[in-house]
Symmetry: C2
């Protein structure tokens, strides 16, 4: 079994992504998750570039990590100064990390055009900076920026920069595909040429501009690299960095490399989700290994095969990474999918029952309108129970009115809702305010219903998602609202669709209440 | 220069994705786009599996395509029948495509467990089906399902299935990584073993479950494959198929393979967007080559380098695939970004001007509140002009009221808005209805403003996006609204943020009107 070090740069390179910005407290939480996951190095930031990163290095010292080393990132010294006088390098030392990683120029073009110094001076920058850091910090890693482009342009000089780093005594030399333009079949030959001259352990740092970052990372390991840099969920500038959520399971399950434990690997999906949440991003459904769809089966043929032998259409067991097989319901579904869903909800349904086909037809029709039942399985269950005639209707809404009023310039509008509902023969007519019209309607409905069903007080709304489906299909645009509710014991998702956002929200809200009442009382 | 055939299966394998469902008319439009893009084969569907696919093969005959061949997909005949009597195979012939592609079993485990027949019988299925089709159709392609898994389990049998297909006279044998579990470094040895026995041209069909579909496709071409199957944007079941939007530019720009022309390559981004739109999916910002962020630069260091020499941080010229370099504005931005933006808007801004720093501070503050200016550059320009004191305020909104009323059970709510605006010293107080509260407010604002500025009639709202930013950051959840407007000449995006969706929409709407008026009249 081969040993490979995992080096995470979510907190530094990951924050270069267009849509990502972490608070210091977010960064601390992510570092803890990375440590639990079993990552060996956590690059916390570039202390020389912004105050947020300096704060991270201070605060992380108060956090007990079980194994991960904290790395600070920076660049080689500037020209015409010494490491002792270079601000950037001194700030790295002040951050007092376990490890320092600095990058230097490998590509002659960059030396001339970006640094505007001679090739010889650049070698001095590399040597001075690394030798000085190695005297002051326990472990020093060298990121050879643009290594592959540099090697293709001027292999002799590119190798000379690596030799310089080796002479300075660094612990690891990382070959960076900074622009992400390298393809996997190019790696074996280039890495072999490096290994002919360099004995220092090699690492790989890949970007995804050619959609090959994970592949290049794994290829480098197959060629002998022992250190892989990447980010959770592949976050990073432009097209992102090598996605550690795909690198980690491939190394462990497919390439016989140790690293994280079985238990740590099982936490992979949760860690991935956690980071999406802190980044305020919607998880990529189709993400390999950890995405909601990664082991989701829609085609009828696949579904019946998978129920007998999961390995027929699954490359690994989803449980190994904390994921699960899912059977989808959609207009491509066969009866097998509907039956699998029914079983999940403890509903007795026969494959020969004409109701199965009727439900299938109804789903097709609703999907045409813009409904989507993935993530709204409570609405799906209500629909099934209704078709089977075993849904109890606990209330009906006679009418409502929602009013948003902005009274004068600069004011924020106030939202108020009135509702009239009927339970049994009794009518309740009431009103409530809220933060925005949907919240006001939710508050008013709750107030009216709690009168009859006090257990609704246990229930709260966890998530509210709005998707405006693009127009251009001939009809006006349609709004789909997905709501996630919970009551401490369970969580459930409901959906509503309408060209009016209030109406769509109303349908998703009332489904959520009906589901709770059916669950507890029917 | 090497010749590689591009085989698109967006219309068949792509529709297996969890969130994709195309109308027949969508499929026809996509086929036209694929033909214009220069794809050689378009797999239209599996006529034996559903009526929608049969309709496609009928309708596509009325469409003039410039070069692409239409392929129909199916499976080998069932056991204990003949091709003449097999429904699936006869339906393929009835569809009358240019090419037929059928898949057969390569993996002994699948033969035993899914087909439940002997290994010998499976070879007969393959031979009979292919030989029969070859007599009846001009071109026949064989998809060796689960080839790589099958080869690893039983190389001798896997190769025997390919030899059988070759004996039946097929035009191309496609090695399928059906479960997507294969890694690129495994390919060279396996493909070499195939080439030792098979002279028929080889193809590759990769899935993305290991995040290596594009890499595996390119690696197979590097090893000698001459036919690549994939889908636009990588749509497909689970984690998707090999993404042709990444395969096509890599083959042409990096691997010296012909295929699409320079002009066709420049349409890549538009084709990608078009298909996202028809699929009702939000494009992946970070998608290689064609995504909005693929050539977007946020870090200050990168921005100043890229302005001198784009190749310093770009692996190809974005124009080659119809994309463009973008400079982002965010809290990591240096002054260089702000200055680049100002230049884009023809605003005179000096790097030493303290206003530059002031704008930077203001952006940081707004981003903290949930604002995002990517995609809302009109709001950003208004903000900059306001800071510079050269924004003209064409109107102010004194107040508004939006009412949604549902009168009785089963009714859809009606939305009505009243607004009071001031232009110069004059006040306009009016009302309008709409489809939902935001549309009603938009209609009422327009009605009031058009009274003073008739040119607003040229303007329409193209897109309306709502994002509920997840709570859990300590504060209540916040709604961000992005609006895209246009007037025939230009399109522009505006943004509004509030805990009230009506308020957020109000801000984005009034920014859109102010931008139009400043653009035309200031």
């Amino acid at each position: 079994m081969k040993s490979v070090m995992l080096y995470d740069t979510t907190l530094r390179d990951g924050t270069q992504a267009e849509d990502i910005s972490f608070l210091v407290s977010d960064k601390i939480r992510i570092a803890q998750k990375l440590d639990e996951l079993g990552v060996h190095y956590i690059e916390g930031g570039w202390p020389g570039s912004n105050p947020k990163d300096i704060a991270f290095f201070q605060e992380i010292k108060n956090v007990r990590l079980s194994q991960a080393k904290i790395a600070a990132f920076g660049s080689t010294r500037r020209a015409k100064t010494t490491p002792e006088q270079d601000n950037n390098i001194q700030t790295l030392l002040q951050a007092a990390p376990d490890v320092v990683t600095i990058f230097g120029k490998t590509w002659d073009f960059h030396v001339h055009e970006a640094l505007r110094i001679s090739l010889e001076e650049n070698l001095e920058l590399i040597y001075d900076s690394l030798a000085y850091l190695k005297q002051n910090v326990g472990e020093v890693i060298y990121d050879a920026e643009h290594f592959f482009d540099g090697y293709k342009a001027n292999p002799e000089y590119a190798l000379k920069t690596l030799l310089t780093a080796q002479q300075a005594g660094v612990d690891c030399i990382v070959l960076c595909d900074t622009n992400g333009g390298t393809l996997p079949h190019e790696l074996p030959e280039i890495i072999k040429a490096v290994q002919a001259q360099i004995q220092t352990p090699l690492g790989i740092h890949a970007h995804n501009d050619s959609e090959c970052a994970v592949a290049n990372s794994l290829m480098a390991v197959a060629c002998g690299a022992v250190h892989v840099q990447g980010t959770l969920n592949g976050f990073g500038e432009r097209c992102g960095n090598a996605n550690l959520c795909s690198v980690i399971p491939a190394l462990k399950l497919k390439m016989n490399c140790d690293g994280v434990s079985d238990e740590q690997l099982r936490s992979l999906r949760l860690v991935s989700r956690h980071v999406y949440e802190l980044a305020n991003l919607v998880p990529n459904k189709h993400q390999p290994y950890v995405g909601n769809s990664a082991f989701a089966h829609k085609g009828g043929v696949h579904v019946s095969a998978i129920q007998r032998h999961p390995e027929t259409y699954e490359h690994i067991r989803p449980e190994q990474v904390g994921n699960a097989t899912r059977v989808l319901v959609s207009d491509l579904s066969g009866r097998a999918n509907i039956l699998a869903k029914a079983e999940q909800f403890n509903i007795n349904l026969d494959s020969k029952d004409p109701l199965t086909l009727e439900i299938l037809e109804q789903i097709k029709e609703l999907e045409n309108q813009g409904y989507q039942f993935e993530g709204a399985e409570a609405s799906f269950e209500l629909l099934m129970r209704k078709a089977l005639g075993n849904l109890r209707n606990f209330f009906s809404v006679i009418g409502f009115r929602v009013i948003d009023t902005k009274q004068k310039e600069g004011d924020k509008p106030l939202s108020e809702a009135t509702v009239k509902i009927k339970v049994g023969g009794r009518i309740e007519h009431t009103a409530a305010e809220g933060e925005g019209p949907v919240n006001a309607l939710d508050n008013a409905l709750r107030k009216a219903l709690e009168h009859f069903y006090p257990q609704l007080r246990e229930m709260r709304l966890y998530d509210y998602k709005v998707r405006v489906l693009p127009a251009g299909k001939g009809t006006a645009s349609v709004t789909r609202v997905l709501i996630e509710s919970g009551d401490g014991l369970n969580r459930w998702g409901t959906v509503g669709v309408s060209d009016n956002i209030i109406d769509a929200s109303y349908h998703a809200l009332t489904d959520a209440f009906q589901y709770k009442l059916n669950k507890d009382m029917a």
